[in-house]
């Protein structure tokens, strides 16, 4: 440690004001504080501070995403094997194939995002904020495995610049940056983001085995609804809900396995980093709306699917656990969090059922509620103000 510290101290003047590389000050600072918690001491107010900081908070979110990431890597290989041979490959081969497919996406996301963040930090004279550590991994996890790398780079740049930095950087953004990236591609390049062909990453020129279908449950349900076919388990991959629960189905890299996502949820809730209120209310909202459709009397595949299936298929769980809980773009008041999450669940199911153009609703729902979160907070704050005013009158 002493040796490393000495090396850092030697380099420091070069990057400090007046040094040759002082234009990289923020970047150097980011790496230095990553390696060493600074030797600063408190200057005003409380002399002692909690052991938690933003680095640790963000890192815990990254850890919480690891199960979904590892599973996703395996599943990318698994899906390729199914598409090419129709058979299950072995575990390590699948993981290796998935790793080769996924790692470049992650590298592009982090390189582009962190590059822009550091540039902005330098330009503004701010320290580099840790928020992108999370965003940089969320973006790959919500991409289809076959996504072209240039799209990942473009979307990340869009999300960081338009989604975050124009608002003033981490802590100031209105929308969830990772979903902003996904939304950008979804609208700009829809054929690469949805449909039946994007969910398995295949080598160039490879053809799929006969009888292979790349359709997801959400796609099946949407077309069944528009063609008037009723609900049956056959619409789900594998003919039952269990594959969707375990996750060996087609979908975006990190969204398929509800089990892996729930492990992440447990990490987030146990560490107190993710809001259990938002997660719980999002699931409740989805369940509630699904149940309303169940008892509404109208028939159709989306109407009759058991309500709790909504929470398992598609990206619902991933969105509820990792996207809705972003503390910056979510409601910030404790009461507001209940309303915010509940409405995300409700709107997700509404979009799924009523809008065949968008098979998945969670992305839209989270972004929509991101926009409304300040309004929800406004009313919660107003109620606090009103109780105070009432006290004066009494």
């Amino acid at each position: 440690m002493k040796f490393l510290r000495d090396q850092v101290d030697k380099l420091k003047p070069t990057f400090s004001e007046g040094g040759k590389l002082s234009f990289l000050h923020s970047t150097f600072d980011a790496f230095e504080t990553f390696l060493f918690v600074p030797n600063h001491t408190t200057k005003s107010g409380s002399h002692i501070r909690d052991g938690i900081d933003l680095k640790r908070t963000m890192f815990i979110v990254v850890i919480a995403m690891i199960p979904a990431l590892l599973f996703g890597m395996w599943n990318v290989g698994h899906q390729q094997s199914l598409a090419l041979t129709g058979a299950n490959g072995n575990l390590l081969d699948n993981f290796w194939v998935g790793l080769l497919q996924t790692l470049p996406i992650i590298i592009v996301s982090y390189a582009v995002g962190l590059g822009i963040e550091m540039g902005f930090a330098q330009f503004r004279g701010h320290p580099v904020n840790e928020g992108f550590l999370v965003t940089g991994l969320l973006i790959p996890l919500c991409m289809p495995p076959d996504v072209p790398l240039w799209m990942v780079g473009l979307a990340t740049a869009f999300a960081v610049v338009i989604g975050k930095e124009v608002f003033g950087g981490t802590g100031m953004n209105l929308l969830n940056p990772a979903l902003t990236a996904r939304m950008f591609l979804y609208i700009g390049y829809p054929s690469s983001m949805s449909g039946d062909t994007v969910w398995a990453a295949l080598p160039d020129g490879a053809t799929t085995v006969e009888g292979y279908s790349g359709a997801t449950a959400l796609g099946n349900l949407a077309s069944a609804t528009s063609s008037g076919t009723g609900w049956s388990n056959e619409l789900l991959a594998g003919g039952s809900i269990m594959p969707a629960f375990w996750g060996n189905i087609q979908g975006s890299i990190g969204e398929t396995s509800v089990v892996a996502i729930l492990i992440g949820a447990v990490i987030l809730v146990a560490s107190g980093v993710g809001s259990w209120k938002i997660m719980a209310s999002t699931f409740l909202g989805g369940l509630f709306m699904g149940w309303i459709f169940n008892i509404s009397g109208s028939s159709g595949a989306w109407m009759d699917i058991p309500a709790f299936y909504h929470l398992i298929i598609g990206g619902f769980a991933f969105g509820a656990v990792f996207m809705a809980t972003d503390p910056v773009s979510a409601a910030q008041t404790e009461k507001g969090k209940w309303v915010y999450g509940f409405l995300i669940g409700v709107i997700t199911v509404l979009i799924r059922v009523f809008n065949p153009g968008y098979p998945e609703g969670i992305m839209m729902a989270v972004l929509l509620m991101n926009v409304f979160a300040p309004l929800i907070d406004y009313y919660v704050v107003q109620s606090n103000i009103k109780t105070r005013l009432k006290r004066v009158q009494a």
């Binding site: 600063h40 408190t42 200057k43 002692i48 501070r49 052991g51 938690i52 900081d53 640790r56 606090n384």
Partner: protein, 448 residues
Amino acid sequence: MGINVKIKRGMDIALEGEPHTDVLSVDAPATYAIKPTDFKGLVPKLQVKQGDEVKAGDVLFVDKGNDRIQFTSPVSGEVAEIVRGDRRAVLEVKILADSEIQYASFETANYTSKSREEIKSLMLDAGLWPFIVQRPFGTLADTTISPKAIHVSGFDSSPLSADLNVTLKGEEEYLKVGFEVLNMLTDGKVHLNIHNKKGNEVYSKVSGVEINTFDGPHPSGLVGVQINKIDPINKGDIVWTIKPQHVAFLGKFFATGNLNLEQTIVVAGSEIQKPAYYTARIGACVNTLLENNLKQDNVRVISGNVLTGKQIEKDGYLGFRDNQLSVIPEGDQYEMLGWLFPTYPRPTLSSSLPISKFLKKTFKVNTNPHGEPRAYVVTGQYEKVMPMDIMPQQLIKAVMAKDLELMESLGIFEVLEEDMALCEFVCTSKIEVQKVLSQGLELMVEES
């Protein structure tokens, strides 16, 4: 009959270096100082110059805004030095103390038959008035009004704080007199708020006050929290608060006619060799308390507690309203990957540090902030340590935006810096909550 409140949101921070209950004595220090910076909004007007002889109770300086408010010498002796800072602002008035204290005498006999104005005049002349803190904004008390109520927190819940049953032992009679005097200052109620799990025997003789009981962790002992629960401050209300040890000073003054500001204080913290109670006067130099009593040299000496106190030098002076000296190590060391793998336990509210949160009971805490300042990201944290019906993060943001109207409607009248010190402690983004709030309070004072 008062009310009974259980405080749920908050946290006790258990630190190493809890005091023994023995009351030790050390040599009285050579010098004492009264610091105008201990009082919010005070512009001092000096009444003495270097070399003047004063008795205990003689005036040193007055408030320029209201020269009835006098600040008097806690000891007799010679004005040794007037320490000035930027723009010649007076920082300290130092007194070289006599070995035998000479007291100025005041006519306090038959105080019960005196009028409110006469009581006030005596308190003002003796320099007891500045012990009263006025809310909103924590200023010196207005000498022309009768407050809506006077609140006294009968216990201290902050880290390493004094057990008042030790520090006020033997002062029961003076406390009784002190509360009688307080009752003469207001048409409203005098509230004495006690903790129902701590002993309250020192208040056994007190009568004529409303006794409210509190339960639960820090900040249950903060008078601001108690006022919020008992009878919150609305726009236009003015309430006064005073600490029990100062009520005892009041009582002693009216019972004896002398300004005797000797009290029992606590000297504690992990870097103190003999954490215990000591006798000291208001404004005492802390050098004799710390001599041969420190475990090492790289320490922070705090007059007050670790959450709200002021940093002083090793030969600095106790703050005017403080009865506590905390000494903790400085945290000026690098910690490799400390954010990921903390190398020693540290107090925390976060379950993301499970060893510190769930296994460790007391902490050797230092002054490292354990992270760098960031914009607000995490929400819902302040609420866990804010038992008042106030939205803390929204209030701080309103102050940052200098939105006076919003500050007012979010309840800035009800809080002082100390009430939000725990918010500052738990903040992931290391926002300087007390400093920000302080700016907001100043802004409100200017505007009103």
